[in-house]
């Protein structure tokens, strides 16, 4: 009966889930308050933790007296570094990088404190109120050692050392080199450059960090519910630190209310709460309040970049050099190290451009601030800001349109795969296609003529472009953080049909807002031939897969999705084998679709439920050998990973009276490969751009020279709210990547392009006044000062 087989492959005719704008299945519960976050866990009579945090930036702890606190009502225990020495091994953020010092991670500060907000003691009481009352009774004597706040100061001779054992405040130093930059730069027709800076940010997830540990006395076992996006890494690290095997230490990331990187590292409080549970044989809870979250979660960016780009007379960029200082804070984080953010700046500086020679040197410098860690975009928001500013400066110096100069320098379709000067290899991606699509959607020519009219009226109207490329879904050949010993290159999917015919797909990845529950179910439904609504996705639970690292670095759709596709292929073969018995048909004539196995061209079919029954419950129908468990596990490693790219175009108007920036138009054209769910892709771009607007115009953690945080509340740490985020147009250039499924990662890109595009637009708007933009965020105060300086200068000239 092969003749009636359709000529077209079936999946073309069938309605597919992948590509469809399916509403997120997690949203109803999250939006109606029925989600379950770590703080929602209700263990039996839990104890509550509160941390006493350092008020000093850098000081020796000479005395801690906890007696009064211990005697305070409801207090069960007070822990200090001294009292827990025997309970754990320090966690070392190891890396094979040379010129790197790995600062040990301790649950509570021992000997000295290195930033304001560092945990020094922990009170455990029957309620958080009583625990906080007792905090006030702990006496600590500090001997100040001199604050180190500015990174430029930290590297000077005689600056106090944060880590004596390191012998320097430079915790990491690297240099990337290709070609002869010095002579190429000398040969350049024009050279542009400057000192660029992006200040420190707080990732600021809506849900602060939160941990609940449930202690099981029966077998001295712990389940840690953590608001983490790397539950697998947390499990492995705490297992090692506390010498607790994985089957007695389960780590679960339940619903997580955002991370943006702040929940993507191991935290001292996570180690401490597990130590406390084992010591006291009790369950415990802790949720950071907003002040703790801002002042002790990993922070972001904080880099100063001295950069220069040389162009030939045709506007081709021929040389690039940069010296980067990253203000990495007081400690290296686990597992990414303090190299993660600043080293990525130099890795990505050449961007999507064919620049022949390059030198990028970076120093990660210790200061008395919380550690910097991953933040949506990691390094690339800064590298893109610098490179795109340089492109615009080059265009201006040569009298070439900013759109045209990018077209001349981008890697062209026929040139992929392309190794840029820092060594990164871009696979085939729509660089030029994104540039063209963004320009067309934005109406670039019309915008320029609007600008000409505006300028005639004396209005400050500007247009900014930013093109970038990033590595996403990277496999085992490239470490997410340099020299790190953890396998970040693979992810596992385990798909099971149980005896009722229900499908459960378990993953190690851990959605913290990205909608993986929906997108992974879409993939499984298509590739298994199941109905979308019949697939349950489990993620972020260390008991479900043997090893996983989690969700970060725009990897989950590529790695989790790829693993799902492979596992589905194996499982669907099993389904077909069983169905061929049940339907007495050739395996090749069976198609699995809509939760059924069907004999092609007939109405003979069996449902998953019937198949499951035959396999598991029924002792007669199938021969013993044919009763294979309906389960498949696959660990997928894309080896290299894939590239994603976009061009952002922003048009802004600066109000000369208020010095406020209004975003008039915002367009993103992006290539994220095959789109799994366009609603989710748009949502990720919108959220990413909103965050990029924060970096460009609003957000800044201000530390004074004594290391005190001045912007420690949401009144002073200003983030964009709904009225500050404009409507955006998002265009998809959907070119399939080379990895399984053709996907590319796209969770971070919005934040990478927006700061640069807005910075360029502001610079363009202010160019009639001779103002350049080299520091973000461009707050009204900063624009005011630049305009005042420009006024003074022009007065000076006319005199």
């Amino acid at each position: 009966m092969n003749s009636d087989r359709p000529a077209q492959p079936l999946d073309v005719l069938r309605p597919r889930n992948v590509g469809a704008p399916i509403r997120r299945t997690e949203d109803p519960r999250l939006l109606t308050g029925r989600g379950e976050y770590s703080a929602d866990r209700k263990p039996d009579r839990p104890l509550h933790l509160a941390f006493l945090r350092s008020s000093q930036a850098h000081a020796r702890i000479t005395r801690i007296d906890t007696a009064a606190a211990l005697a305070s009502p409801g207090v069960v225990e007070v822990l200090t570094a001294e009292s827990i020495v025997k309970d754990f091994k320090p966690v070392i953020p190891f890396s094979r990088m040379t010129n790197y010092y790995a600062t040990p991670i301790l649950p509570l500060a021992a000997g000295k404190v290195r930033y304001v907000g560092e945990a020094v003691a922990a009170v455990i009481a029957t309620s958080r109120y009583l625990a906080e009352d007792a905090l006030e009774l702990i006496e600590i004597d500090y001997e100040p050692l001199g604050a180190v706040s500015r990174p430029e100061f930290a590297v000077t001779e005689g600056a106090p050392l944060l880590h004596d054992a390191a012998g320097t405040n430079v915790l990491v130093a690297r240099e990337f080199k290709k070609g002869d930059v010095a002579s190429d730069s000398k040969a350049a027709a024009v050279r542009v450059g400057g000192r660029f800076e992006v200040t420190r940010k707080a990732p600021l997830a809506m849900e602060p960090r939160s941990y609940t540990v449930e202690y099981e006395k029966r077998r001295d076992a712990i389940t840690l519910y953590t608001s983490s996006n790397i539950p697998g890494i947390v499990r492995d690290a705490i297992s090692e630190s506390l010498d607790l095997p994985g089957h007695r230490l389960r780590v679960v990331a339940p619903d997580v209310g955002g991370s943006f990187g702040s929940k993507g590292s191991l935290y001292p409080e996570e180690i401490l709460i597990c130590i406390a549970a084992r010591r006291l044989r009790r369950s415990l809870k802790w949720t950071a309040d907003r002040l703790e979250d801002i002042s002790s979660s990993s922070q972001a960016f904080a880099e100063i970049v001295d950069a220069e780009m040389g162009f030939d007379a045709n506007g081709i960029a021929i040389s690039l050099q940069a010296d980067v200082i990253g203000d990495v804070g007081a400690y290296s984080i686990y597992p990414w190290t303090c190299g993660l953010e600043p080293v990525q700046v130099v890795s990505f500086l050449p961007g999507p451009y064919k620049i022949a020679s390059y030198r990028g040197a970076v120093r990660g410098v210790a200061t008395c601030k919380p550690p910097t860690g991953p933040y949506r975009g990691v390094g690339r928001p800064i590298s893109t800001f610098v490179t795109e500013r340089l492109m615009d400066l080059g265009a201006k110096a040569l009298g070439i349109d900013p759109l045209e100069i990018r077209r001349r320098n981008l890697v062209r379709p026929e040139e992929f795969p392309y190794r840029i000067a820092s060594g990164i290899i871009w696979d085939r991606t729509g660089f030029v296609e994104c540039l063209d699509a963004a320009a067309e959607t934005a109406g670039y020519r019309e915008l320029r003529s609007l600008q000409a009219d505006a300028r005639k009226q004396g209005r400050l109207f500007g247009i900014g472009i930013a093109s970038y490329a990033e590595l996403t879904g990277i496999g085992s050949r490239i470490a997410v953080a340099p020299g790190m010993p953890i396998n970040t290159g693979s992810e596992t999917a385990k798909i099971t049909i149980d005896s009722t015919g229900a499908i459960t797909a378990a993953f190690g990845v851990a959605s913290h807002g990205q909608g993986l529950e929906t997108t992974l179910a879409q993939i499984v439904a298509d590739d298994l031939g199941a109905r979308f609504e019949d697939v349950r996705v489990i993620q972020g639970d260390s008991d479900e897969v043997p090893m996983s690292t989690g969700s970060y670095a725009s990897r989950s759709a590529v790695l989790g999705g790829g693993a799902a596709k492979h596992a589905c292929r194996i499982l669907s073969e099993k389904i077909k084998r069983v169905a061929s018995h049940l339907l007495e048909a050739n395996q090749d004539d069976i198609e699995v679709f809509g939760g059924k196995a069907i004999v092609l061209g007939t109405d003979r079919a069996v449902t998953f439920r019937q198949i499951a029954k035959a396999v598991y419950s029924d002792m007669k129908t199938l021969p013993v050998k044919a009763r294979e468990e309906l389960s498949a596990t696959y660990t997928y490693d894309p080896i290299n990973g894939t590239t994603a790219a976009a061009t952002h175009i922003a048009a802004v108007e600066v109000d000369p009276a208020t010095c406020f920036v209004r975003i008039v138009k915002y367009v993103v054209a992006e290539d994220c490969g095959r789109i799994i769910n366009p609603l989710i892709v748009d949502g990720q771009v919108h959220g990413g751009v909103a965050q990029g607007i924060g970096a460009a115009l609003f957000e800044e953690l201000v530390y004074d020279d004594d290391g005190q945080l001045l912007s420690a509340s949401l009144i002073d740490y200003v983030i964009p709210s709904a009225p500050e985020v404009p409507n955006m147009e998002v265009v998809h250039v959907e070119s399939e990547s080379g990895v399984e499924g053709g996907f590319r990662g796209m969770g971070e890109g919005g934040t990478i392009g927006a700061p640069a595009a807005i910075a360029n637009a502001i610079a363009d708007a202010l160019s009639p006044l001779g103002i350049e933009v080299s520091l973000l965020p461009m707050t009204p105060e900063r624009i005011f000062r630049l305009m005042e300086q420009a006024k003074l200068k022009s007065r000076g000239k006319s005199r």
Binding site: D289, E781, F784
Partner: protein, 286 residues
């Protein structure tokens, strides 16, 4: 971020509330909308022994005309003032300003008595009370007394009340005007102002008879600029009037600086807003 221990009482009359404050012996604190007080409690920046909750007292929430004045009960929520047709027609500057007060959820809870008592230098209602020349009716152990708004604000976040006193109601005189304007700049919509100005003008065909001016966000308390009012009464109107007004306003205040704005920038903003406000007030009726 949990408050230190406190006792809680919920009286149903103002008399009982005052008694509770007296009994608290200087350790009492009144709770109205809680929008400013609760954060302070949670940060342990204030540690009252007793919280005296006003929300159960009937008759403290009203907006009503009284002759040439509008009386507003201390427990009236920001949102009620914002939406009141009476306020819109009789106190239009207040109506315009209310939408700049925080965000909807906060306006639903926050009260006028709480806002005035909290005395934030960048809050709209304290500035409006100066602008209108409002009078606060205050009840204490010795009974009621009237406090003029200009005597009420002592310093940033400091009013002139005794610990046992409660603001009960506030009367706002209706101003005669030919034109008015309210201008404000805040980092984001709903934030406390970086600078703000309220202006109303009585004018003849070519001269200004008198002006009323109040500003906020630039000093430790909101300010009514009586000196500028004096200099601007009787001046003749021409194209340069808004700019002259702006210069006068700028020279009469010296703005504070903080994390969000330097004094120079605030001063600059106030100048721009002053010119804009005067332009609007003058064009309202030609």
């Amino acid at each position: 971020m949990k408050p230190a221990k406190f006792d809680y009482v919920a009286p149903t009359t103002v008399d009982a509330a005052v008694e509770a404050l007296v009994a608290a012996n200087g350790e009492g604190k009144v709770l109205a909308g809680g929008q400013s007080l609760l954060p302070l409690l949670n940060f342990r920046m204030t540690r009252p022994g007793v919280l005296v909750d006003l929300n159960g007292i009937q008759g403290l929430s009203f907006i009503e005309p009284r002759g040439d004045r509008i009386a507003i009960g201390a427990l009236t929520r920001h949102r009620e003032i914002e939406q009141s047709p009476l306020i819109a027609s009789k106190l239009p500057v207040m109506a315009a300003a209310m939408r700049h007060v925080a965000h909807l959820a906060i306006r639903n809870r926050g009260t006028i008595g709480g806002s005035l008592s909290h005395a934030d230098p960048a809050a709209e209602l304290p500035m409006l009370s100066l602008f209108y020349g409002a009078e606060l009716s205050v009840q204490g152990p010795a009974g009621r007394r009237i406090v003029a708004a200009e005597d009420f604000f002592v310093d940033a976040l400091t009013n002139c009340l005794e610990p046992e006193e409660i603001v009960v109601e506030i009367e706002f005189p209706m101003l005669a005007y030919d034109g008015w304007a309210f201008e404000e700049v805040a980092r984001r919509f709903g934030d406390f102002a970086l600078a703000s100005i309220a202006v109303s003008v009585r004018r003849g065909s070519s001269t200004i008879d008198n002006v009323r001016i109040a500003v906020m966000g630039v000093a430790d308390t909101p300010l009514r600029l009586k000196a500028v009012e004096g200099k601007f009464s009787g001046v003749s109107i021409d194209d340069r009037t808004p700019d002259r007004f702006s210069e006068l306003v700028m020279s009469s205040v010296s703005a504070n600086s903080d994390l969000h704005a330097s004094s120079e920038y605030r001063q600059h903003l106030l100048g721009k807003l002053a010119a804009r406000a005067m332009r609007t007030a003058l064009t309202a009726k030609e």
